[in-house]
Symmetry: C2
Subunit: 146 residues, 2 copies
DNA sequence: GCCATATTGATAATGATAATCATTAGCAAC
DNA sequence: GTTGCTAATGATTATCATTATCAATATGGC
């Protein structure tokens, strides 16, 4: 927790940006939350501490957090961007239940390796990827049958 | 080409929908195009044949084409939905060059199998997936170095 | 404390797509 | 071929997440 804050402060200094109470507050709220969060959800949380905060600021700070490397954007194709932790939180992909929206973080090193090889076989240097697995979780399947 | 039209007409009949010149025209324009296309691009093409066509109709027919199974949506995360052929065009994923935007269709049956297994290991039944590999193509890398 | 400059909050703008609604067109039964 | 029912169209407006604008304010080095 401490180190994330320092990390962010270092980023601000490096970019000649200023430390402000809003930035601190938004960062804290983001760090406290372990799961994905949307800009709106974060706005709602932060408003409770400081009702005068503007949602544009939340969007702006969220972008800073991403640029600093503390967060990453996740897009489940439902029209809203979500943000998840990046710091000490290694890369992973997502398994999403189409029924209840539950998500599970997954990694498969073999898949990762194959992705790199596939890209290379077409002369590409892989820099990044997105993988979303959509399906129905055990609970939802049970409900549908029962 | 013939069979795609029949396929679409069958879909319309099955759903009690009507065959209209606009639907025919938009479908034709979509089928003629081999690569991905956006709603806006399709609108521009179709407008040349019939300037009175509305862009809402393009969006509507595009949705019908997807529902019929002739097209599938592709989202390269740039804020615009693209549509690609589905008919006699088996599932594949995409390799996208971050430099020039060039895309390559890729499939790797081992990855596909592993995706299914990963999902199952969390109790999910995989119905669908999205995978986008982002990188730099050989040409773009050469340009950057030269 | 002062000043240059970054930041804020409110609000309007944007851009893709969806909804609305009056008008028009397809088609089955007569 | 007319009628009548219903679906489809085009124009327009709405929506919704995210950005840009801009005047007012706060920050941090001097």
């Amino acid at each position: 927790m401490k180190s994330e804050r320092e990390f962010f402060e270092n980023y601000l200094i490096k970019k000649n940006l200023r430390e402000t109470p809003q930035r601190g507050m938004i960062l804290d709220a983001f760090l406290k939350r372990e799961e994905h969060i949307t800009a709106e959800q974060l706005y709602d949380i932060v408003k409770k501490c400081d009702p005068s905060i503007g949602q544009a600021t939340v969007y702006r700070v969220l972008r800073l957090i991403v640029e600093s490397g503390l967060a990453r954007e996740v897009d489940f194709s439902d029209g809203v961007m979500r943000y998840e932790h990046c710091y000490n939180h290694p890369h992973h992909d997502h398994l999403v239940c189409k029924g209840c929206g539950k998500t599970v973080e997954v990694v498969d090193s073999v898949i990762e390796e194959l992705q790199k090889r596939v890209a290379e076989s077409f002369g590409f240097e892989l820099t990044d990827h997105e993988m979303y697995l959509y399906g129905n979780c055990a609970d939802c399947r049970k409900k549908l049958q029962g």
